[in-house]
């Protein structure tokens, strides 16, 4: 190859999306490309067995566990807990710098649950979504409230905010829950400085808008389409990618005939205007509660010899969809779990083959269960390993569809379900695997008796971190899946571990604290999991300072 071509190739590689984190863990998914991958390698496969606890931070509120992703900026960690409490902590010592307790209205009934999945931090401000549907900005120095805005009255909409906001270029972008209520979802952008709403993207088009014809009657007003997990952002394309959840009612679609756009879709929105650039719908007319809700991983890879800008998204139904993130073109889909019978497969254009739908008034076995072929806990993409690491769950449910009349803001499920003790294949349980992101070819699989409900962290040190239901936080070899280290934190793992460094020392931090809706379903299969203890603490580890 002529030298100038090689130089050009190197320059192109540098220009490609760099989603690795280093000293800081600035965004929910690491960087805005949601890799959950750190370039730090002080802790690596050869020395991870010597990891030792450095500090622990008890938040004092363990209802619903601790589901957050800590954010770390310049040696300060920001963590949110259930009931919208925020703590700023010295990331090297664990000393509390300040705390903020959001005041919920008196007698307020919380929809879904009390948990919060994280804050966003930028320009000296900390941003938080609340249980009564406010977006709040705090001064990162002292926790003083700078502004708050009530997006919708939570009592009326049956919705709230549990996901971490995404903040880029002075804009705070926030989703909303409400996919199991009679509610119409959206994504909002607010000015980081003033709190003023800059734009709103309705996830269900209104009358006169394109896509409205995919709904019948008034069903669009109560059709769900929640945006309950954090979106991604591509700076070069200036697009922000959000996942839109299931249509409501979950199990019954009799009054919403059509594809029900943009539910179960990835939407690419112009950051400045909120206008839709493209969408990709994974599950048209969903009747299984198969949210497209989870992280949008932005990665650049060659496909059939051509370099592509890709977006990978794991659907709750257990299929992983890969599309071109410049235009939404379908690239690939592959199953994450063995127990999957709601379709027979995905065709070459992304079409669903052999739909197996719940029936009104009659029970039917559907796999995976409503808890998902995976839950919302995120996977990790390691460009070094060339692998996407993600958990998966083997379980099934007995489901009955029931016609229902929507009532604004009230639960709108359209059916009932019960988990079955044995899935169709093998035993019920969880696993963590290493997959080729495009083909789904699996390199290894780590199996566990219960679902793994904590996010995965990958590092350039060839180590994978996650935690289990019984409280073990552990490290696997990225190449083999072999367990290298584990530590008992006293409560199960439902949050997202991160890594960062302060003064040249690498730290690995994990929330510990069992809880959540999906965790609550486990006793239907494993009665003993009812006794798994809750908690809410951050555990931080590092290599011993003397180097031994």
């Amino acid at each position: 190859m002529p030298r100038f071509v090689a130089m050009f190739a190197a320059a192109a590689a540098l220009l490609a999306q760099d989603g690795a984190t280093r000293e800081n863990w600035p965004h929910y998914g690491g960087q805005t490309s949601a890799w959950r991958y750190s370039a730090l390698e002080q802790v690596n496969a050869s020395n991870v067995s010597r990891l030792t606890p450095v500090w622990t931070f008890q938040t004092g509120d363990n209802e619903g566990g601790l589901q957050a992703t800590p954010i770390v900026v310049d040696g300060v960690m920001y963590v949110s807990t259930s009931h919208n409490r925020v703590f700023a902590i010295d990331a090297a010592t664990g000393r509390e710098l300040w705390s903020y307790y959001f005041q919920l209205p008196k007698g307020f009934t919380i929809f879904y649950g009390p948990w919060n999945r994280g804050v966003a931090v930028a320009d000296g401000r900390v941003f938080l979504g609340t249980l009564d549907n406010h977006v709040v900005a705090l001064d990162a120095k002292n926790g003083r409230e700078l502004w708050k805005v009530n997006v919708e009255d939570a009592n009326q909409c049956g919705c709230n905010i549990t996901a971490a906001p995404l903040v880029v270029k002075g804009k705070v972008i926030v989703g909303v829950t409400g996919g199991d209520s009679a509610h119409r979802g959206y994504v909002n952008a607010f000015d980081a400085k003033t709190g003023r709403q800059l734009w709103r993207f309705w996830t269900i088009p209104g009358p006169g808008e394109k896509g409205h014809e995919t709904w019948t009657g008034d069903s669009w007003k109560s059709g769900g389409g929640a945006t309950w997990m954090t979106g991604s952002y591509d700076a070069e394309l200036n697009l922000t990618y959000w996942s839109v959840g299931n249509p409501a009612a979950d199990f019954w679609g009799g009054n919403r005939k059509g594809d029900n756009l943009y539910t179960d879709s990835v939407v690419a929105l112009d950051l400045d205007t909120g206008k839709l650039k493209w969408h990709y719908q994974q599950v048209p007319h969903d009747v299984w509660d198969w949210d497209t809700a989870y992280e949008n991983v932005l990665l650049d890879l060659p496909v059939n010899g051509r370099s592509r800008k890709l977006l990978l998204n794991v659907n709750k139904g257990g299929y992983t969809f890969v599309v071109d993130r410049t235009n939404g073109e379908f690239v690939a889909a592959w199953p994450l779990v063995n127990n999957l019978n709601w379709i027979k497969g995905v065709g070459p254009k992304g079409e669903l083959l052999g739909r197996n739908e719940p029936v009104v008034g009659k029970s039917k076995i559907i796999c995976p269960s409503i808890g998902g072929g995976r839950s919302w806990n995120q996977g990790a993409w390691s460009p070094k390993a060339g692998m996407f690491f993600t958990t998966g769950i083997e379980w099934c449910e007995d489901v009955v569809a029931v016609p229902e009349t929507p009532k604004e803001g009230q639960v709108y499920f359209g059916g009932t379900f019960k988990l079955t003790h044995k899935p169709l294949k093998g035993e019920a349980g969880g696993h963590l695997g290493a997959y080729d992101p495009v083909t789904g070819k699996r390199a290894w699989l780590y199996e566990y008796k219960y679902p793994l409900l904590a996010s995965v962290l990958a590092t350039a040190g060839d180590v994978i971190f996650t935690g289990d239901a019984e409280g073990f936080f552990f490290a696997l070899d990225a190449k083999t899946g072999k367990k290298l280290w584990s530590y008992q934190t006293g409560s199960g793992h439902r949050g997202s571990a991160v890594t960062y460094s302060v003064n040249g020392r690498q730290y690995v931090a994990t929330p510990s604290g069992w809880g959540s809706a999906v965790a609550g379903l486990l006793p239907q299969i494993w009665p003993e999991t009812e006794r798994l203890r809750s908690g809410s603490a951050v555990f931080v580890f590092a290599l011993p300072e003397n180097g031994k």
């Binding site: 209802e63 009931h83 919920l104 008196k106 007698g107 307020f108 009934t109 919380i110 929809f111 879904y112 649950g113 009390p114 003083r144 700078l146 502004w147 708050k148 805005v149 009530n150 997006v151 919708e152 009255d153 009592n155 009326q156 909409c157 199991d180 509610h183 119409r184 000015d191 003033t194 709190g195 003023r196 709403q197 709103r200 209104g206 007003k221 008034g361 009659k362 029970s363 007995d398 009955v400 029931v402 016609p403 229902e404 009349t405 009532k407 604004e408 009230q410 639960v411 499920f413 059916g415 009932t416 379900f417 019960k418 003790h421 809706a517 609550g520 379903l521 006793p523 239907q524 009812e530």
Partner: protein, 265 residues
């Protein structure tokens, strides 16, 4: 087999229970319609997001109280305005009957339709005012009235208690809604040059909390007094600038509805 039928085969289940087979069966039905739905208590109280009720002993008074009043600051809602005393009695009988039930539920999930909830008391509105109420609280409009006015326990109290305004003898409400210049609105000038129309919510020696009206929904900003240049009576802000999404006819309907609520108070 339905669960209550199973219980008939297990006389021990009724050992200390107060319920009758009929009340337990009716409670089972109510439970399937309202309590096991979604991610709540699970089929037959087998646990989901909320706790397991099967195989547990609960104090009767406690159950009645929690069903009626809910548990504030949790996901357990109050059912007192949706269920009758007889409903709550039967539901309590059913839950108590689960005390000796095996943890695992026999049979499939329920085929019961969820309970059709009556309108909440706060929302009790005669037919002729429903359109006005819907317009006032219309979530499909970003510029709906309830973004700034609280009514019947819903909405954000940025503006004044609108029932007091409506109670005043005004012959042409829509004209007020369009051209009114509320006295509470001020022009805030900050030292960094920013200016906006706002309503003061609270002022202390060091801080001013103000609803910024320059965007919908209004933002409650917490300004340091040292950052504020001046707060002046404004001349420009019109109520009409935020109700543009409503037609004149809509405004008449809303006004009539608000006057109805004001008269009821």
């Amino acid at each position: 087999m339905r669960l209550w039928a199973l219980l008939l085969l297990l006389p021990v289940a009724y050992g200390q229970s107060i319920g009758t087979p009929a009340s337990v069966a009716r409670g089972d039905k109510l439970f399937a319609q309202g309590c096991s739905v979604g991610y709540c208590h699970g089929a037959g109280g087998s646990a989901a997001r909320s706790q397991r009720l099967r195989g547990r002993t609960f104090d009767r008074e406690y159950l009645v109280k929690v069903i009626r009043n809910g548990i504030p600051a949790t996901a357990m809602p109050a059912w007192g305005d949706r269920l009758t005393d007889a409903d709550i009695n039967d539901l309590t009988d059913y839950i108590q009957s689960l005390a000796t039930a095996p943890v695992n539920v026999a049979g499939g999930p329920s085929t019961e339709a969820p309970v059709a909830l009556p309108a909440e008391k706060a929302w009790d509105t005669p037919e002729e005012h429903k359109r006005g109420r819907d317009l006032f609280f219309d979530l499909t409009r970003e510029g709906r009235c309830s973004v700034c006015h609280r009514l019947n326990g819903n909405g954000t109290a940025v503006g004044p208690d609108i029932t007091k305004v409506a109670a005043i003898k005004v012959t042409d409400g829509p004209q007020v809604l369009r051209y009114g210049r509320p006295r509470t609105v001020r022009t805030f000038a900050l030292k960094d040059g920013e200016r906006f129309a706002g309503v003061t919510a609270e002022r202390t020696a060091s801080e001013t909390r103000v609803f910024d009206l320059s965007a919908t929904p209004p933002v409650l900003r917490n300004l340091l007094n040292t950052d504020v240049q001046s707060i002046q009576r404004q001349a420009n802000w019109r109520h009409g600038s935020v109700v543009r999404g409503y037609s004149l006819e809509d405004m008449q309907t809303i006004w009539t509805y608000v006057r109805f609520v004001a008269a009821k108070k």
